[in-house]
Symmetry: C2
Subunit: 307 residues, 2 copies
Amino acid sequence: MAVADTNAEIDFAKYVKEKNAAIEQALSDSVPTIYPERLHESMRYSLLAGGKRIRPCLAIAACEMVGGAQEVVMPTACALEMIHTMSLIHDDLPMMDNDDFRRGVPTNHKVYGEEMAILAGDALLSHAFEYIARETKGVPAEKILRVIADVGKCVGSEGLVGGQVVDIESEGLAMEGKPVSLETLKYIHAHKTGALLETAVVSGAILGGGTEEDIERLGKYAYDIGLAFQVVDDILDCTATSEELGKTAGKDVAVGKATYPSLLGLEESQRIADELIKSAKEQLSVYDQKKAAPLIGLADYIKNRKN
Amino acid sequence: MAVADTNAEIDFAKYVKEKNAAIEQALSDSVPTIYPERLHESMRYSLLAGGKRIRPCLAIAACEMVGGAQEVVMPTACALEMIHTMSLIHDDLPMMDNDDFRRGVPTNHKVYGEEMAILAGDALLSHAFEYIARETKGVPAEKILRVIADVGKCVGSEGLVGGQVVDIESEGLAMEGKPVSLETLKYIHAHKTGALLETAVVSGAILGGGTEEDIERLGKYAYDIGLAFQVVDDILDCTATSEELGKTAGKDVAVGKATYPSLLGLEESQRIADELIKSAKEQLSVYDQKKAAPLIGLADYIKNRKN
């Protein structure tokens, strides 16, 4: 986590630290090492490989902000992390991005083989839905169904997968000299990264007992921070050093990938990121600011992050 | 479909034909060609590639037998076919079984590329759960959640994927000269093929308003026919000609794969298949035999099939 620049960020960092142990425990419990063991080990290897757990944190923070208890949203929080993990495992495959390392350790297929990596991803994806349906307690069944429908949409052809396909197609077009439009770039960002963040927040609001107005406000907040996250990512790729990023800087520019700075320039990109964060925080202005502190802090964290 | 040998089989063949148009229409409606078009085309290419639609038929037949209408189970029937299709697309990939053709047409990755095939499978899998949650009408939400949990389990590490992993591991052990036990073979069959058939029948019974007794009986029926299906498959691989099968006969023997005949002999395998079908039909004996006719007919069809 970057050094906190604001009080809100300090609150967020504290919140994340406070929730972290419960999230890690819940994730570990969600995929026990049962028969067939090697499959479950492969699932656990990637699911428990660390990371910031932004999606579970967002789901819990939204749930608590509207007055719900952490327990009602925890199965969904775990499910979102299972889905995120599935997308990383499949993305890293040789036929996709062909990455050998992730977060400093060998990728799933390097350890367990490509067949197992495909199957572990498929198992995590189906387990996610089973887990929400079976483990969510103390919430009306209709609300759980709504969350399942939302989660399904955010992963599939109109969500994360849709964003990945448009990204792949755009790279192909770019190589033929056909530039990517801002509209397409926005679609890619909003779907590849935004959809899952948005669903995390919205699921938390639904399961926590939020009103339709809460759900709508938090959905807008999440859309804005999701897009801001990617715009800042694009900016950091141009401005940060590899040392700061912990990965190769300037990679987007090197491969001729469309980014916010490449389409609009650095200054305009920074202005857009600031606007998005401001707009996100405005959605939270109607709430008790103490209760909204983790979500406000996350917005600041995204704006100010250095890696 | 094989030539019908019994009246029950004739009833089943009529039933399948009668339901087929509705199932094909529902499947086509379930994945429209929207943006990004090529992804949706890839999903539709495999989903609408024909096949016997055994899983949707089973779900509808079970639903109708306990007194439910076709409409309440149709979204789940489509979802089961999406999941079956996903498993075929991923299985056919070069890193898995490396098949270029399925049902006489090029496999998904041969037409759309490996990246798209992985992603189309992922999208079909997540869409399946979204579709059940969003489109099932006229059934209490608790029952829909139960179906989603069952479907998730039947695909994941304790279902279809679990069966595939044990199958792959067993092949590896067989090549090292370590024979596969009957117990392991039963696990593979029950999970790779049986789980989805069982869930089709059980989902139909739940959504159609069946009692707990109905659900249990139909679950046993489905377990038996699912296992019988595989035992007969193993037998046909030894006894039928390639022409009859429409695929290479003797393939299991050639690759040294464990089968019921290789472990128990042909005669004992046939006896087991007959026992399983008899046991499956016994579960249906308490019902109005006219209403149970499609499910009885399916059992006979599995026993007598020639390909």
